[in-house]
C-alpha cells in the first residue's frame, strides 16, 4: 500500500511540476495583466515543436529548451506589443485575438511539422529509472521536479529581490502611478507577457519527453493551466506553485483510485475552491 502511495505522490508532484511551468506563465499573464490568453497552450506546444527540431539537429536538450523558450518568448512579446495592447482591459477582443492566434499557430505547426505525433527524446544522461524504496520511477520525471523547483525559486527571487522585479510589481499594482514615477509601463507589460510565453514554451520542451508533441496538445493543456490558475489564485506565484502541486496530486490519486471518474478528478478541486474561495487559494482582490 505504501508503495502505491509513494508512486502516486511522486507522480502527482512531477505532473504538478510540469503544470507549474505551464501555469506560472499564465498566472502572470492572466493574473497580472488580466488577459485571457487562449494562445497560452499554443506557446507550450510550439515550444515543444521547436525543441523537437533543435534536439534532432543538435542532440542538445539544453539548447532545445533555451531556443524553444527564447523564440516563443519573443513571439509573446510581439503579440502583446503589436496586437493586444490595442485592447487594454477589454476581455472579449483580447480573447478573440488570442483565439485567432491559437488557430493560426495550429495550422502553422501542421504545415511545418505535419500531423504525426512525436515524443522528444529524453536527454541521454536522464534516461532510465531509479528505484526509490522499492518503486521504479523514471529519472527524467525527478529531473523535471528539480527544474520546476529551480524555476519557482528563480521567479520568486526575481520578483522579491531584484530591482526589475520591484518595477514589475509596481507596474502591476498601479500602472498609472508607476508611469507617473517614470517606469516604462508598456515595455514592462510586453516583457511580462513575453516572460509568460517563455515559461510556457520552456515547460513545453521539458514536458516533451513525457507528453510528446502533436496537434491538439495546445488546447488539451490549456484547460489544465486554467484550473491551476483558478485554484491557486491569479497573479500569485505561491498560488501557482501550490495550485500545481495540489491539482497534480488530486488528479493523480483520483485517476488511480477511481479511474471511472477520470474526467471529474481534474475539475472537482477547481469547483470546490471556486465555491469556497472564488479568488483562489492565494489570489488577490
Amino acid at each position: 500500500m505504501s508503495k502505491f502511495l509513494l508512486v502516486q505522490t511522486l507522480n502527482g508532484i512531477s505532473f504538478g511540476a510540469l503544470l507549474f511551468l505551464l501555469a506560472s506563465g499564465l498566472s502572470l499573464i492572466y493574473g497580472v495583466m488580466k488577459i485571457v490568453n487562449i494562445a497560452h497552450g499554443s506557446y507550450f506546444m510550439l515550444g515543444a515543436y521547436i525543441g523537437l527540431t533543435v534536439v534532432l539537429r543538435t542532440k542538445s536538450f539544453f539548447l532545445a529548451a533555451l531556443l524553444g523558450a527564447l523564440t516563443i518568448g519573443v513571439v509573446g512579446l510581439l503579440m502583446e506589443r503589436v496586437f493586444l495592447r490595442r485592447f487594454p482591459l477589454q476581455a472579449s477582443p483580447q480573447m478573440m485575438l488570442t483565439l485567432g492566434f491559437t488557430l493560426a499557430f495550429r495550422d502553422l505547426a501542421l504545415l511545418i511539422w505535419g500531423g504525426d505525433p512525436y515524443t522528444l527524446p529524453t536527454p541521454p544522461f536522464l534516461v532510465g529509472s531509479v528505484e526509490i524504496l522499492g518503486v521504479i520511477f523514471p529519472l527524467y520525471r525527478l529531473f523535471v521536479i528539480g527544474i520546476a523547483t529551480l524555476v519557482a525559486l528563480g521567479l520568486w527571487a526575481f520578483n522579491e529581490k531584484t530591482l526589475v522585479g520591484a518595477k514589475l510589481r509596481a507596474a502591476v499594482d498601479d500602472h498609472e502611478m508607476a508611469g507617473g514615477v517614470g517606469l516604462n509601463v508598456p515595455l514592462i507589460s510586453g516583457c511580462m507577457f513575453g516572460l509568460g510565453a517563455f515559461l510556457a514554451a520552456f515547460g513545453g520542451v521539458m514536458g516533451g519527453p513525457i507528453f510528446g508533441v502533436y496537434p491538439g496538445l495546445d488546447l488539451e493543456l490549456l484547460s489544465l493551466a486554467f484550473v491551476v490558475v483558478i485554484v491557486g489564485g491569479r497573479g500569485s506565484l505561491k498560488g501557482s506553485a501550490v495550485g500545481s502541486i495540489l491539482v497534480g496530486l488530486v488528479d493523480n490519486f483520483g485517476k488511480a483510485i477511481v479511474p471511472e471518474l477520470s474526467y471529474f478528478t481534474l475539475f472537482a478541486p477547481m469547483a470546490i475552491v471556486l465555491a469556497i474561495r472564488p479568488t483562489g487559494l492565494f489570489g488577490r482582490e
Binding site: N11, S14, L110, T119, P215, N252, A256
Partner: protein
C-alpha cells in the same frame, strides 16, 4: 456485269455497316466519359497523416493501372472530411450530386461511416469503406450499398485472444484501453475468446481518450498478471508505450496491443520501448510474400515510407472497385450490377493475402500475429503466425453472434 455491280454494292454495304459499327462502338466508349471515384479521407487535422496514407495507397494502385479500366479513364476525386462527420456529409453530397461519381470510397472514422449510411442507402450509390472498423457497420447496422474491405475491431482480437491462451499460455491478463467504441469492441472481442477458453481478464481500465499521463493507471496494474493488453493508437500509443517502459513494467510483464498501435506510420517515432510488442492485424508491411514485397518496394520508392495498413487498405479497396467495374464490362452507371460485382468480388493477389467478403459485406481474411523487431536498423512488425479465413464472427454462427448486443464498455462474457 450485273453480278459485279451487285457484289460491289454488297461489299460496299458490308463495309459501311462495318464502318458504322466501329464508329459507333468507339463513340460509345467516349460518350460514357470517365469512371469517377469519390474519395473521402481526412487530409487536415489530427489524422492528416493517416488520410494522406490512404490517398497515397489509392493513387499508387491507379498509377499502376494507368488510371484506366475497361477502355475508360478513371478520375479520382479526393475530398477532405477533416475527420469530422458533418464536413464529411457535405463533401459526400458534393461528390455524389455535383461531381456525379459512380462509387464512393475511403472513409476513415467510424462516426463518419455511420453518418454516411442513410445517405448512401437513399441515393443507392455503391460505397467502399476502406479503413473504419466499427463492428456494427457490417453487423446489426449494415447497409445494403456499403462494402467494407478493411476489418472489424473485434475481428483480429477474437483471434488474438485464442492465440494468447493456447500458444502464449497466458491465463490472467489486465486490459487498458481508450474509452470509446474502438477500445470497447477490440477488448470485448479479446475478452470473449480468452475467457471462453478459461482465461480471465482480471482488470479492465478505461482511460479518457486524450490522456497524456498514464502513470496513475500504470501503477494500478496488478503485478500478478501474465500479460497486459492495451488499445491505444496514434499519440496515446506513443506516450503509453514509452511510459510503460519508464515505470519498469516492460521488464516484468509482456505487453500486447491492438494492431494499429505499432502501425508503420508510428514505428519510426518509437524506440526500444516498442520491441517485443505482440499484436494482431490483417496486414503487415513485413509480410514476406512476393506480392507484398513488391508492393512495399514500389510504395517506398514512390512515397519514401513504408506502407501502413491505411495505405494497403486504400490500395486493395481501390483495386476492389476497379476489378468490380471490369467485371461489369465498364458499366459503372449500372449501380445494381456494380454493387453485385463488388459484393461477389474475390481478390487473390492483394498485398495482405487472399480475401473475400462475407454476406454482410466484411472481409474474411488472414489475421497475422506480429511482433515488433528491429531488422536492418528499422523497427518492423514481423509476422510470427498466420490465422487464415478469419471472419468478423470468428467461429460463431452469424445469427447467434448477432443476438448478443454490441461489445460495450461493461461487457462481461459471463453475463447473458
Amino acid at each position: 456485269m450485273v453480278v459485279k455491280k451487285t457484289m460491289a454494292r454488297g461489299l460496299g454495304l458490308v463495309a459501311s455497316v462495318f464502318f458504322v459499327m466501329a464508329a459507333f462502338s468507339a463513340g460509345w466508349a467516349q460518350d460514357k466519359g470517365p469512371v469517377k471515384i469519390g474519395y473521402i479521407a481526412p487530409l487536415t487535422g489530427a489524422f492528416a497523416e493517416n488520410g494522406k496514407d490512404m490517398q497515397n495507397g489509392a493513387i499508387h494502385y491507379l498509377e499502376e493501372i494507368g488510371y484506366q479500366v475497361a477502355g475508360r479513364k478513371i478520375e479520382l476525386i479526393v475530398e477532405d472530411d477533416e475527420a469530422n462527420p458533418t464536413t464529411g456529409m457535405t463533401k459526400l453530397r458534393k461528390v455524389v450530386e455535383k461531381d456525379g461519381v459512380h462509387v464512393v470510397a475511403g472513409v476513415f472514422l467510424a462516426s463518419t461511416g455511420y453518418a454516411f449510411h442513410p445517405y448512401i442507402e437513399e441515393k443507392k450509390i455503391p460505397a467502399n469503406y476502406q479503413i473504419c472498423s466499427a463492428d456494427d457497420l457490417t453487423q446489426r447496422k449494415s447497409a445494403k450499398w456499403v462494402v467494407r474491405t478493411s476489418w472489424t475491431s473485434s475481428q483480429t482480437t477474437h483471434a488474438l485472444g485464442e492465440y494468447m491462451y493456447n500458444t502464449l499460455g497466458y491465463r490472467k491478463i489486465a486490459c487498458l484501453g481508450m474509452d470509446y467504441a474502438f477500445g470497447w469492441e477490440a477488448i470485448g472481442g479479446l475478452q470473449r475468446t480468452f475467457e471462453e477458453l478459461g482465461g480471465k481478464v482480471v482488470q479492465k481500465i478505461w482511460t479518457p481518450i486524450n490522456t497524456v499521463d498514464f502513470s496513475p493507471y500504470l501503477s494500478n496494474i496488478r503485478t500478478d498478471v501474465d500479460a497486459v493488453y492495451v488499445v491505444y493508437v496514434g499519440r496515446p500509443g506513443l506516450t503509453f508505450t514509452k511510459q510503460y517502459m519508464e515505470f519498469g513494467l516492460k521488464k516484468k510483464i509482456p505487453l500486447l496491443s491492438i494492431g494499429p498501435m505499432t502501425d508503420e506510420n508510428i514505428l519510426p517515432s518509437m524506440g526500444d520501448e516498442a520491441l517485443g510488442i505482440v499484436n494482431a492485424l490483417h496486414y503487415s508491411a513485413a509480410l514476406d510474400t512476393p506480392i507484398n514485397r513488391k508492393f512495399v518496394a514500389t510504395f517506398r520508392q514512390r512515397f519514401k515510407r513504408a506502407p501502413s495498413y491505411f495505405a494497403e487498405g486504400a490500395y486493395t479497396g481501390t483495386k476492389w472497385i476497379v476489378e468490380s467495374i471490369k467485371a461489369v464490362g465498364g458499366a459503372a452507371e449500372d449501380r445494381d450490377r456494380l454493387l453485385g460485382a463488388m459484393r461477389k468480388m474475390v481478390i487473390s493477389d492483394a498485398p495482405r493475402g487472399p480475401f473475400r467478403l462475407d454476406d454482410y459485406g466484411n472481409p474474411i481474411q488472414n489475421v497475422y500475429v506480429r511482433k515488433v523487431e528491429r531488422v536492418k536498423g528499422e523497427l518492423q512488425n514481423t509476422v510470427i503466425h498466420t490465422i487464415p479465413n478469419v471472419s468478423q464472427f470468428w467461429k460463431y454462427k452469424p445469427d447467434e453472434y448477432l443476438k448478443q448486443p454490441l461489445y460495450s464498455r461493461d461487457y462481461s462474457p459471463g453475463k447473458p
